[in-house]
């Protein structure tokens, strides 16, 4: 535990095991106060389990979790100072949105008598508390612009409106830490884009320490201060979106961040494909001399190109166009090389007609943007880019 360092969240060596299976293997990381950190990973990587363990909804096998510098192990979920937004929103369907927003305050701040319908009027404390709760509900609703439907039940609202109410129920408690479990997953694409921008703006304005779980790499990259990439219950990499984009730690991370496709070419195949006139200067791929490199060279489609002929002195793989995938301004062109490998390049859509299916060309890429990963999957050498 970091001593009194006003930490947002500290997780140390957290392990969660269910019988034989281990969901989380000794996870450790720190979230600075006011930061928005995403946990990114494919389904089943343990990211939701991690979030639920922090909230106290999942029993922890070993390790420490501290929220705001306070060890939360002995605390009940409601006492941990965390708020949770569920993917399904988990709003109470029988209560109006107003009552949903008030629920956490009613449950924690009112006495048993104060919660009884009508009878609460007998207690002056309950009257005062109820009054302040109503005011806080109004304030939260105004902030999220959900006042018009406060008196409706969740069932009568759209997905976006429900999402806001769920967010409101989290905000109203003024927690030390927000835990969001794929809060945008149930929204349609357009709404997801605007909501994530709003969410980011709100998070900045409130300075709320936030842990955000998602399986959507674009979403994680777009809104996070830092991203934690997880596979199989382990952290694969922690870094800013820029770090992750420039220097993915492993081939697996690179693959996950370069969806829909990452070009992976064995280094020796590439060596054989170097054009004529290689003599003179040595070729370096992502800072590693190609001559001695082993393992896989990974290239994103946006750093690759297709040409009619190889550039002299640079690696160029002969390929055939198999299909195109129109993506608006930019498109993906899928290729196949002599070895049957599937490759992809990104190019402006207006150039698509030049490359019909079946046409032959040469696949090339920006040497400085490519990375070499050793056979084990890690980078073949530590490097700065």
């Amino acid at each position: 535990m970091t001593e009194r360092s006003a930490c947002g969240l500290t997780v140390e060596d957290l392990t969660v095991r269910y019988g034989e299976t281990t969901a989380l293997h000794g996870i450790g990381f720190v979230v600075e106060p006011g930061a928005l950190v995403s946990i990114l990973g494919p389904s089943g990587c343990g990211k939701s389990t991690l979030l639920r363990a922090i909230a106290g909804l999942e029993p922890v096998t070993s390790g420490h979790v501290a929220v705001g510098g306070r060890d939360v192990a002995p605390l009940r979920p409601a006492q941990r100072g965390v708020a949770f937004v569920f993917q399904s929103y988990a709003l109470y369907p029988h209560m109006t949105c107003r009552a949903n927003l008030a629920a956490p305050l009613v449950m924690t701040e009112l006495s048993a008598l104060g919660r009884v319908p009508l009878a609460w009027r007998l207690s002056s404390t309950a009257r005062r508390t109820r009054h302040s709760i109503a005011a806080r509900v109004e304030r939260t609703a105004a902030m999220l612009e959900i006042e018009p439907f406060l008196d409706r039940r969740p069932g009568a609202l759209s997905g976006g409106q429900r999402q806001r109410v769920a967010l409101g129920r989290a905000l109203i408690r003024e927690p030390d830490l927000f835990l969001l479990d794929e809060p945008l997953a149930n929204l349609d694409a357009a709404l997801r884009q605007t909501t994530r921008a709003e969410l980011r703006a709100l998070q900045r304005r409130l300075g709320a320490t936030t842990l955000f779980v998602t399986h959507d790499q674009a979403e994680a990259m777009a809104i996070s201060d830092r991203v934690i990439v997880m596979f199989d219950g382990r952290i694969a990499q922690v870094g800013t979106p820029d770090d992750l984009y420039r220097t993915p730690a492993t081939l697996q991370v690179a693959r996950f961040l370069s969806q829909p496709h990452l070009n992976e070419i064995p280094a020796d195949v590439l060596r054989d494909a170097i054009g004529i006139a290689t003599a003179g200067r040595p070729i370096a791929v992502g800072g590693v001399p190609l001559r001695g490199a082993t393992g896989i060279v990974a290239v994103r489609p946006e750093h690759a190109e297709i040409r009619e002929a190889a550039r002299p002195g640079l690696p160029g793989l002969p390929v055939t166009v198999t299909e195109a995938e129109h993506g608006g301004a930019d498109s993906h062109l899928y290729l196949r090389d002599a070895g049957g490998r599937r490759l992809a390049v990104r190019l402006p859509s207006e150039r698509l007609p030049d490359w019909p299916a079946g046409r032959a060309g040469v696949f090339g890429f920006r040497l400085d943007a490519a990375r070499v990963f050793g056979d084990a999957g890690g980078p073949s050498r530590a490097m700065a880019s």
Binding site: R52, A55, G56, L57, R76, P77, A78, V82, A83, F84, F86, S88, A90, L91, Y92, P93, H94, M95, A103, P104, M107, T108, A112, R115, R169
Partner: protein
């Protein structure tokens, strides 16, 4: 694509012959069920209503119109009035115990972990077992001289009771047995209801400060069980109001009419005294009661939607 298109009936696009054809087809398909309903349910009910305003007796060649006399007898005849009073007292005790007891047991059983299957079976046993057979066991248990119930009372230093032959006690003995009989069914319904509650609601409740006990019950469990509770309440009321088996098997209405209830009296009037007119009036009252309950349930369920 095509089949999908054809499957969707769009009245605004249909031509007049198409609509006629569709109506005829619908009527033809509904006919068997409608006829069965008419012959087996609506017809007999109307017949009962008709007979209730006559003095028809089984085996007599004809009947005379007596107006509301049979209904008036329900209010004035001491026997019939007693029967109605017994029934209401019985319902007032049994229904709440069977509903809330069922809910309580269901919540306990749901949290029982590994013992859950066993507990469920034990509580459901009275529902599956034939009451007539089980009644023998109860008679032994409740026997005034060698019954185990009295042995237990003796151990506790309490005087022995004549559970089924004491006029002040017999109805309440039957009430206890009725709760025992109804509980398993209600437990099963509540367990089914509990299983449908979204787990994340409980998690949200835990984070909102209602992790367990009464708070969690009032915030999530009870409101989410409301539709099931409504159904269980109505079913229990109807079954309690129509209690017949227990009376016939254990007390035969005695001692001295202390356990006579609506259906038992109806049976007596019709098949012992052959007074079909009176029996029909009683049946009509029973019918109205059941119908009112069912309509209330439908009305509340619709309004909640």
């Amino acid at each position: 694509m095509r089949a999908d298109h054809r499957a969707r009936w769009r009245p605004e696009l249909a031509t007049a012959p198409e609509i006629r054809h569709r109506r005829r087809l619908g009527a033809a398909l509904a006919l068997p069920a409608a006829l069965t309903l008419l012959v087996l349910v609506i017809g007999p009910s109307l017949a009962v209503l008709g007979l209730s305003v006559t003095d028809y007796r089984l085996g007599m060649p004809g009947a005379n119109w007596v107006g509301a006399a049979n209904y008036a007898a329900l209010a004035t005849d001491a026997g019939l009035r007693g029967s109605l009073a017994n029934t209401f007292a019985f319902v007032a005790v049994v229904a709440p115990l069977a509903v809330f007891g069922g809910l309580w047991v269901a919540i306990l059983v749901a949290g029982a972990g590994r013992a859950r299957g066993l507990a469920q079976t034990v509580f459901f046993l009275p529902v599956t077992a034939t009451l007539v057979a089980m009644a023998t066991a109860w008679e032994v248990l409740l026997h005034p001289s060698f019954g185990m119930a009295n042995a237990l009372l003796g151990v506790l230093g309490l005087p022995a009771q004549r559970f089924l032959s004491d006029p002040n006690l017999a109805l309440w003995t039957l009430a206890v047995l009725a709760v025992w009989k109804l509980l398993g069914y209600n437990v099963l319904l509540f367990l089914a209801g509990l299983a449908t509650i979204d787990r994340t609601l409980y998690e949200a409740a835990a984070l909102d400060g209602a992790e367990a006990g009464w708070r969690r019950f009032t915030l999530v469990t009870w409101p989410m069980l409301a539709p099931v509770t409504l159904f269980v309440t109505v079913i229990t009321l109807i079954r309690t109001f129509g209690e017949f088996e227990l009376v016939v098997v254990l007390t035969n209405g005695g001692p001295d009419g202390a356990t006579e209830m609506v259906l038992f009296t109806l049976y007596q009037e019709a098949f012992r005294y052959f007074d079909i007119g009176r029996a029909s009036a009683l049946a009509a009252v029973f019918l109205v009661f059941v119908m009112a309950l069912s309509l209330t349930q439908i009305w509340i369920a619709e309004r909640r939607r």
